[in-house]
Symmetry: C2
């Protein structure tokens, strides 16, 4: 940790939370904002805005700001290849990255990580860049999971981990022993929203919330790539479809930001649990 | 096969296809129609209509019509327990069936199968009741899968089988190496419909269909319970979301009815393949 932390910032709350946490820990932070994806918060930090494909410019910016470590965080809409403008450095990297992208998200991330490491930058996961975001073991708020919830959590972890191993998705919803939804390319929020379309006796209702959302890391996500993230929106979306709560793997998920998430879960009556693997 | 075949007929085209096939094979057929689920076609056969929960009546009807074997076929909407009226025989069976239902579809089916077998009725799968519906190995129509489709098929089988092993669902959609959708409680048609909501560069378009639907049997579906079914509607729905084709496991899926399904696939330019395990 000799130099500063460079954050390649996609959308959502995670990159901002990492920046805040790293700065609070006394580290210098530089934000590489992606055009159209990163929020305005980047202005609060030394930053530079680039388009996807401006790889040479990214390398130069990290070096100019004395970054020794970089982290990739936040949502990046999988781009249409034809819309990416490649700079000279990116043209050299393109064949490898495209080949990787065709194999799935994890292969793509590994290829991107390799590329930065060949430039002498250490790629670290959010867990290392901002350790206080990591979910700890135990129930995080006032609401506790009941016996049915605990059984649903175990079942949903088995499903989410099986799908993670195949590079499909990270999340699953189980209600009273029935698998209601499994995440693939649509993402967690779209997956949650659709359980409202299932017959009412499959799932919870406003008066009687039931079922759990579980997010599990993909086994091949080795801490250098995105861990599952739970934020205030996740809690609100889970409440909107009458789930009883949310569980993540302790030590292998990010809670962004924790105080607000726990407050929202308490307010809405959902449990939020970190479960040891 | 000493006596007739009794068909417990849910919704959809499968029970009718089984009845037609068994009768064409020279066997006497009796249809147990479920109120509100079985189509009008049951009138073409000796039949009796019952409500879910009229178990004693079902046993008597099968005996009165000299059925030695019965088969369960077609879609049965998972009922709300409170809406089921149980006759005396069903009250005896209820605790066991309810306990099984809470464990998932497969456990429920096994419990129902056990119940009939204890009454001396042999429960046979659609594969045995109507062997000519079984998918054979090879491409069934004029359109052939290309190299990308073949890779997507292999990947989608891995996903569908992993989910089947956990009693989640039977189907998955993969397009160019990316898992677009995994089936859970929503069923295959709802799963297919939602890929239209994904960004266009993830999937096929009208002018360039891409991606495959795969349906795989659950490992614990031992031929006594429902095999995956592909019908004309499946082909139409796959075409509506610009998939390139459909693959099933040879010997472990039902094509209902084959001539019409192949004609529709040919007309719409989709491939339909039976793949050896």
């Amino acid at each position: 940790m000799s130099g500063g932390l460079g954050i390649i910032a996609g959308g959502g709350e995670l990159p901002r939370a990492i920046a805040k946490s790293a700065r609070a820990g006394g580290r210098s932070v530089f934000v590489l904002a992606l055009n159209g994806m990163t929020g305005d918060w980047a202005r609060d930090y030394p930053h530079e805005s680039v388009a996807l494909g401006e790889l040479g410019r990214a390398f130069r910016a990290f070096k100019a700001h004395d970054c020794s470590d970089i982290t990739l965080a936040g949502k990046v809409q999988r781009p249409k290849f034809s819309e990416i403008k490649l700079d000279a450095r990116a043209v050299l990297a393109a064949p490898r990255v495209i080949a990787a992208a065709l194999k799935g998200d994890d292969a793509l991330l590994r290829a991107v990580v390799d590329m930065f490491e060949r430039e002498g930058l250490r790629v670290v996961g959010a867990a290392e860049a901002a350790p206080d975001l990591i979910a700890r073991e135990g129930v995080m708020g006032r609401t506790k999971p009941n016996a049915e919830n605990l059984a649903d959590i175990a079942q949903a972890f088995a499903i989410a981990r099986a799908m993670g191993a195949l590079d499909v998705g990270q999340a699953a919803i189980v209600c009273a022993g029935l698998a209601l939804a499994v995440e693939a390319a649509e993402g967690t929020d779209a997956m949650m929203a659709r359980i409202a379309n299932l017959p009412e006796h499959f799932r919870g209702t406003k008066s009687k919330p039931r079922g759990v959302l579980v997010k599990a890391p993909k086994p091949i996500q080795d801490g250098k790539t995105d861990l599952p993230v739970v934020g205030v929106e996740t809690v609100r979306n889970a409440h909107a479809v009458a789930l009883a709560g949310i569980a993540v793997e302790a030590g292998a998920a990010l809670i962004v930001d924790r105080d607000a998430v726990v407050a929202e879960a308490d307010k809405l009556g959902l449990f939020l649990a970190g479960v040891a693997r």
